[in-house]
């Protein structure tokens, strides 16, 4: 699911420092924020929207839930959002214990919720809406255009978006899928969505070492008619070390740079050595 302006957003943890900062940015950008959650401030208003005790209480008033919740409390909030009817749950939180993450995914399956993340920076649809912690409001980075961007990393997704704008291009959608090893929406899932999106003419994948997200996406890309290009971070990273993201680790030769590059190139995806090559590849 690609967020649209008409999708109503519920912010879990809306009254916190980061929740407040980013909710203001989302509202200012034109996103439809219809409420927030904080059990201790239920019944009050914050940033002009009602604060609820739980997402379940707000059921029917939102389509997308976005979590500004610390890791040890994320499971409860995530399950609440699923049971409260979220169609999409944007889970920004990093460092959620993996067993809690699995319980959230199980709740999502049972309730028909799609989780994006954990450890995603969110989704930007330039000129329309955004949900999460990407600087959508910075027009040197995000501008309306025809390129779909998929990224496991918020900072790298921001860099590639910047590269596009520096070269006179823009983005249809920037989809942060998250840097965790167990994520609800994979690079391949996002690729399928952007393939079906009329506003997207070509797609840039920002991958990284670890796991099999790029290999799985390559399988799908093989049958696509829209051009797909990619950059994979971590070529210069040593094996056996967790490179910041819990999912970015090469172990026993699996998830390493050469195998990802090979899989993508075999599927007809051009792979850039540095992100700045992406715009010219999209032109050519």
């Amino acid at each position: 699911m690609i967020p649209r302006k008409e999708h109503r957003i519920l912010i879990q943890g809306i009254t916190g420092k980061q929740g407040t900062f980013w909710t203001e940015k989302m509202i200012g950008y034109g996103a439809t924020v219809t409420g927030g959650v904080n059990p201790r401030k239920a019944g009050t208003q914050h940033l002009g929207v009602p604060v609820h005790a739980t997402a379940k209480e707000a059921q029917g008033t939102f389509d997308i839930a976005c979590m500004f919740i610390p890791p040890m409390m994320a499971k409860t909030a995530g399950i609440d959002a699923c049971e409260g009817g979220a169609k999409l749950l944007v889970c920004l939180t990093e460092h959620i214990p993996s067993h809690d993450v699995m319980e959230m995914h199980a709740a999502a399956r049972a309730n028909g919720t799609r989780i994006v993340g954990p450890n995603t920076a969110g989704i930007v649809v330039p000129g329309e809406t955004f949900v999460g912690i990407l600087p959508a409001f910075n027009d040197r980075v995000f501008r309306k255009g025809k390129i779909g961007v998929i990224s496991r990393s918020g900072s790298l997704g921001t860099l590639i978006s910047l590269n596009l704008v520096q070269n006179g291009m823009g983005q249809s959608v920037v989809y942060g899928v998250g840097g965790d090893p167990m994520i609800g929406t994979t690079t391949r899932d996002a690729l399928e969505m952007l393939d079906a999106d009329d506003g997207t003419e070509a797609i840039a994948i920002c991958g990284e070492i670890g796991g099999s997200a790029e290999e799985d996406a390559a399988e799908y890309a093989r049958g696509m008619s829209k051009p797909v290009v990619a950059f994979i971070a971590g070529r210069a990273s040593p094996p056996g070390k967790k490179m910041g993201h819990a999912g970015a680790i090469v172990s026993g030769g699996s998830g390493d740079y050469p195998s990802k590059r090979k899989a993508l190139e075999a599927a007809g995806v051009r792979v850039a050595d540095v992100p700045s090559q992406i715009p010219e590849m999209l032109r050519g």
Partner: protein
């Protein structure tokens, strides 16, 4: 966080899975004494890596003298980059069959998966590669958990010396231990059937989920910390992920993806990064601390600061860099490229406080830093 055999097995025992009697020792003398109490034993190197047997780190001993001799050989041995300092002296058991059992987090189903193979032992991975049927897999719905019927269904049709019920019971308990301890991986290889009808775990590997460490303080104290240099340890103490890489271009970036990309670009343009150090996520307020640690590395010839702020506000990060730079006045050139959340304030700050003009294009900043480090 990884746990060595001696630290992992107590978790199995607490969960009702049998292990042989054993004792941890640090010297050949102690090994002899322990063997005297335990009887015929196995002398096992305790290091946080696999393939101990193939490396000669596991030996059978019939007598205390023999145990002392093996201990003398194995202590101090290098296995997988680790020096053996500890041994487990463990009672021998009459092995009839070696099996393999594990429960781990599965990134495909985003839930737990139970693995079982009737071909346990040293070469289980190779066996599974040659014959995919040799490794059975069962995804578990984490809300429902595992029950005896499901565990037994994983064993259907296998020749287990008629011990199906006992092995299924072990799988059930293994799953419970996995759940009770926030495991990423809990593995028994080999799980043995003995000639006298018992099911015993001869080895155990346990990886605690790093994100669960804050709520598993007591447990994590038993784990083996990652090997770290002094600076890596100092950074970890400050809540920062820092990895020394040996090159001469210092890297300070926000976010794991951008930091790896910065390292890649330095390599692409002919330089060598000195480190991975990211101050993304909640750590973005720690740029001053991060830079002070980074600058302690004497090999750094130039510094590249690459910020692409999303959640991490570049104005806050640049403020920290400016503070650290003014405090330490390092004698190396620094190159900036700054974009994203808070970039106007950040760029203005770097210009006014340090008199440095950030590069608009990352590649230009990288090339300049690589050139300066030559």
């Amino acid at each position: 966080m990884n746990f060595e055999e001696f630290a992992a097995k107590p978790l199995l025992v607490a969960g009702g899975i049998a292990v042989p009697p054993s004792q941890v020792v640090m010297s050949a003398e102690e090994a002899g004494v322990a063997a005297g109490v335990i009887g015929p034993c196995v002398v096992k190197a305790q290091v946080p890596t696999g393939k101990r047997g193939k490396a000669g780190g596991i030996k059978l001993a019939a007598t205390p003298d023999e145990a002392r001799g093996h201990a003398d050989t194995i202590l101090g041995m290098e296995i997988g980059g680790y020096t053996v300092e500890k041994l487990l002296i463990e009672g021998q058991v009459p092995i009839s069959r070696e099996l393999y059992a594990a429960v781990l987090n599965d990134p495909v189903t985003c839930g737990p998966v139970v693995l079982f193979s009737p071909l346990g032992g040293m070469d289980v991975e190779e066996a599974a590669e040659q014959d995919p049927n040799a490794m059975r897999r069962m995804p578990v719905d984490i809300r429902e958990g595992l029950d005896l019927g499901k565990a037994a269904s994983l064993l259907t049709g296998l020749d287990l010396d008629g011990q199906h019920d006992a092995v299924a019971e072990v799988l059930l308990r293994l799953y419970d231990v996995y759940r009770a301890n926030d495991a990423e991986l809990l593995e028994i290889n080999p799980l043995v059937l003995t000639s006298d009808g018992r099911v015993i775990a001869l080895d155990c590997k346990f990886t605690l989920c790093d994100s669960a460490v804050p709520r598993r303080e007591e447990l994590s104290a038993q784990g083996t910390p990652d090997k770290a240099t002094d600076l890596e340890a100092e950074a970890a103490g400050a809540g920062l992920k820092y990895i020394e890489l040996g090159g001469s271009v210092g890297v300070l970036a926000n976010g794991a993806g951008l930091t790896m990309t910065t390292m890649d670009a330095i390599t692409h343009y002919g330089g060598q990064p000195s480190n991975f150090l990211e101050i993304g996520g909640e750590a973005y307020t720690k740029s001053e601390t991060a830079l002070k640690i980074l600058l302690k590395n004497p090999n750094i010839k130039s510094l590249l600061v690459n910020f692409c702020g999303a959640f991490a506000r570049t104005d806050v990060m640049a403020g920290g860099v400016v503070e650290a730079w003014k405090a330490l006045k390092p004698d190396i050139p620094v190159f900036f490229t700054i974009h994203g959340t808070g970039e106007d304030e950040a760029v203005a700050l770097v210009k006014s406080e340090l008199g440095i003009e950030p590069f608009d294009l990352m590649d230009d900043a990288v090339k300049a830093a690589v050139e300066a480090a030559r």
